[in-house]
């Protein structure tokens, strides 16, 4: 067999009772049956490899040549010619079947006409032989009868037809094309059939049809068969199944397309590091995400290495190189990478190493992901959580303190209301109790007023917008209000604040801070010595500004007061002077401006408050 070796069929062919032969496209015998060799009176082995035309009567050479060309062009050819057999000339009818596909073999049959009459049984045998041949073809093969009314009826289909379409041979044979072929393919093929009939030429096209076995893509060729009158009475169709090729091609196309879109969808910078050349081939992300030129491509690894943050260089650049010799297939690192515009990006870099069979790393395919935004968001989230939990703790504390301090004068008032009726009216003790009731109610009123003020302060903070505050000037202003009590106690004040000092914040907050700290210093001055009150500032190299307010007053035992000294209603001196609200306000104001406050104190030595403000604090950062 010419295109597909099927030894069983071949053997069957050679030993068939039919005089048949197979010619290659050059008209050279590829195979002959024993019967055909016998007809020509030549050994089969000698015929194979020799020319069909040359093996026959030279007087008929032109006829054979002509008919062979017709068959090669796609026609089923039937003609008669005399052949010189071992017993003299015999009239033989030749039948040449056109090649099933361009460039494939041509089948031929020879019938000695003398024998023809008593060969009705061999005729059937021939049919059977042809079926064997056709059924062993992998290509779908069918024959359509061209009916007088112009319809096409299947008269023969091979096994491949069933294998490909899933339609049983018995189901198809005898049916009209329109009963078998579904639309829209039907209209298409009918057009081609008619074209083949009209033109007398082979028609070829590609089509995709849906059959019970699934979608089939094939290359179809339709060859018209003419009778002696030159009328087309049959169409021989061959479908070369391209489904597998098409599927592979389609899968490859889709995979390529997916890869291309994936590259577009990812904002990562994809790279391909050629270890031997020490070069990187960059994907578009390198330009889009990090702003680098994609030329030259590939770029030396050094270009990337130079963009790695100096503090990460050793770890990351060396880490990548060492990954070559390590066993792991993956390398991964987080580091800072300089964008082309100089800004730093936080990146996550993952690479996959391609190794030879011997394990030598030849390439690393990887992606650099920009996680700057994510990290920033995470940091903000942390900050927000911190602030929320601090505020929540503050609120809890505030609730506890307020309930306690509201209840305290209320409990006293209840007590006096209970006591008064039992005291004789008009006596001094009754008058005193009555005074105390009034005092306790005033206390109650004061707490409510304080709470109101503190809540208002929180509301105020919500609309806080920092401005640059001239701290030294505000400090002087706050002192002015306290000039009188300061002079009265013989205290002195020193400011070492530079006149140029400007801090972002609120003028009112700074005023409240200084006022509260100064009045505390005056209130809790030592009886043993004259008050000295000092204010100074210090700017650290990182831009943090520290204000210190120091006095030489009574001080307090820091260990005993602990960390909660800035709490509301927290007092650490005996006597009625303090309500325990001043330092709470100071702390609230300092924190509202993004600062921190701390204190150091020693009994009978003095107290020093330290207020720190980051220079570039931005209240709108959150």
């Amino acid at each position: 067999m010419p295109t597909r070796d099927q030894p069983a069929a071949q053997a069957l062919f050679e030993h068939s009772a039919e005089a048949a032969f197979v010619l290659n496209p050059l008209g050279v015998y590829q195979q002959v049956t024993a019967r055909f060799a016998q007809l020509l009176g030549q050994p089969a082995a000698q015929l194979v490899g020799s020319s069909f035309v040359a093996s026959l009567d030279p007087a008929q050479a032109r006829l054979h040549q002509h008919q062979l060309a017709r068959a090669a062009a796609g026609a089923v050819v039937r003609y008669q010619a005399p052949v010189w057999g071992p017993a003299g000339p015999v009239e033989v009818e030749f039948q040449l079947l056109p090649p099933l596909a361009p460039g494939s073999a041509c089948y031929g049959l020879a019938h000695p006409l003398a024998e023809r009459l008593h060969l009705s049984t061999t005729l059937l045998e021939r049919e059977r032989q042809l079926s064997v041949v056709f059924d062993n073809l992998a290509d779908v093969t069918f024959v359509l009868a061209v009916e007088p009314d112009g319809r096409f009826r299947f008269v023969f289909v091979n096994e491949a037809f069933y294998r490909t379409t899933g339609l049983l041979v018995s189901h198809v044979t005898g049916r009209y094309a329109e009963e078998i072929i579904p639309e829209p393919a039907l209209s298409l093929v009918l057009g081609h059939y008619r074209q083949a009939v009209a033109s007398g030429q082979r028609v070829m096209w590609q089509e995709t049809s849906v059959y019970p076995n699934g979608q089939v893509t094939g290359e179809v060729s339709i060859t018209p068969v003419h009778n002696e009158l030159g009328e087309c009475f049959q169409l021989v169709g061959v479908v070369h199944d391209l489904t597998k090729e098409k599927q592979v091609e389609e899968a490859l196309r889709r995979s390529n397309e997916r890869f291309r879109y994936a590259l577009k969808a990812t904002s990562d910078a994809i790279y391909d590091w050629n270890v031997a050349d020490d070069t990187l081939y960059w994907g578009e992300g390198w330009a889009e995400r990090f702003g680098y030129e994609l030329t030259p491509q590939p770029a030396p690894l050094g270009q990337w290495a130079a963009a790695v943050h100096p503090d990460d260089q050793a770890r990351v650049v060396e880490g990548r190189r060492q990954a070559i010799t390590a066993d792991a297939p993956l390398w991964e690192a987080e580091y800072r990478l300089r964008r082309a515009d100089g800004a730093w990006a936080s990146v996550l870099d993952r690479g996959y190493l391609l190794r030879t069979a011997e394990g030598r790393a030849v390439r690393m395919l990887g992606a650099i992901q920009d996680v700057t935004e994510r990290e920033r968001a995470a940091a903000q989230q942390r900050l927000l959580t911190q602030r929320l939990s601090r505020q929540n703790a503050d609120l809890q504390q505030f609730g506890y303190i307020v309930s306690h301090n509201l209840r305290s004068p209320l409990a006293n008032a209840l007590g006096y209301a209970d006591l008064l009726p039992s005291l004789p009216a008009g006596t001094p003790v009754f008058a005193e109790a009555l005074q105390h009731l009034a005092a306790t109610l005033r206390q109650f009123d004061q707490v409510v007023t304080d709470v109101n003020g503190i809540l208002a302060l929180r509301d105020e903070q919500a609309g806080y917008h920092p401005e640059l505050v001239d701290v030294a000037a505000v400090c002087q202003l706050a002192l002015l209000d306290l000039q009188e009590p300061l002079r009265a106690c013989g205290g002195e004040f020193e400011s070492h604040l530079p006149a140029t000092l400007r801090l972002p914040g609120s003028r009112a907050y700074f005023h409240s801070i200084f006022h509260n700290l100064f009045s505390n210093a005056i209130k809790y001055r030592s009886e043993a010595r004259a008050l000295r009150l000092q204010v100074a500032s210090h700017t650290s190299p990182t831009g943090e500004v520290t204000l210190t307010v120091r006095d030489n007053g009574r001080g307090f035992d820091q260990q005993r007061v602990g960390t909660d000294m800035f709490q509301l209603y927290r007092r650490f001196h005996h006597g009625p002077a303090g309500r325990g609200i001043g330092l709470f306000l100071v702390k609230t104001h300092v924190e509202a401006m993004g600062g921190r406050i701390s204190v150091r104190s020693e009994v009978e030595v003095g107290t020093e408050f330290t207020l720190s403000f980051p220079m570039n604090y931005d209240a709108d950062a959150l």
Binding site: H404, D418, A439
Partner: protein
């Protein structure tokens, strides 16, 4: 009964003192506006000089009621059975009540204002069958 009143609020002390007097609860009342002073005084006494009852406020500057109790802990053995401490606070917080249970020296927690029925109940507990002292 010798009684200590420890409270930084003089209005509260005035109130408690008059109630104790009118109820005839105590023969001696010592009032302290600072827990430190009260502690110092307490530790100078031998067993006979100790007060039978101490009314202790919680919320005070410098040394609060809890700190006072902590300071007494090393002396718990000498005090136990002789000196009965009642926390007298305006706080209604449950946390304070829970915390007070951890101090063995504390006999109870009373919410201000102190009232007569409370005083009678304490006396009944400390002096079963006794009248006014």
């Amino acid at each position: 009964m010798k009684t200590y009143l420890i409270d930084d609020d003089h209005l509260a002390i005035f109130l408690a003192r008059h109630l104790l007097q009118s109820e005839g609860f105590s023969n001696t009342i010592c009032a302290f506006q600072s827990a430190e002073e009260a502690l110092a005084e307490l530790l100078t006494h031998e067993r006979e000089g100790l007060p039978r009852v101490i009314f202790l406020d919680l919320n005070m500057p410098v040394m609060n009621g809890w700190q006072f109790l902590e300071a007494l802990t090393p002396h718990a053995d000498e005090l136990r059975g002789h000196c009965h401490i009642y926390i007298l606070t305006s706080s209604l917080a449950l946390a304070d009540l829970e915390k007070s249970k951890h101090y063995q020296l504390v006999d109870g927690l009373i919410h201000k204002p102190l009232d007569r029925s409370e005083l009678r109940a304490i006396r009944a507990r400390l002096e079963p069958g006794a009248g006014a002292s």
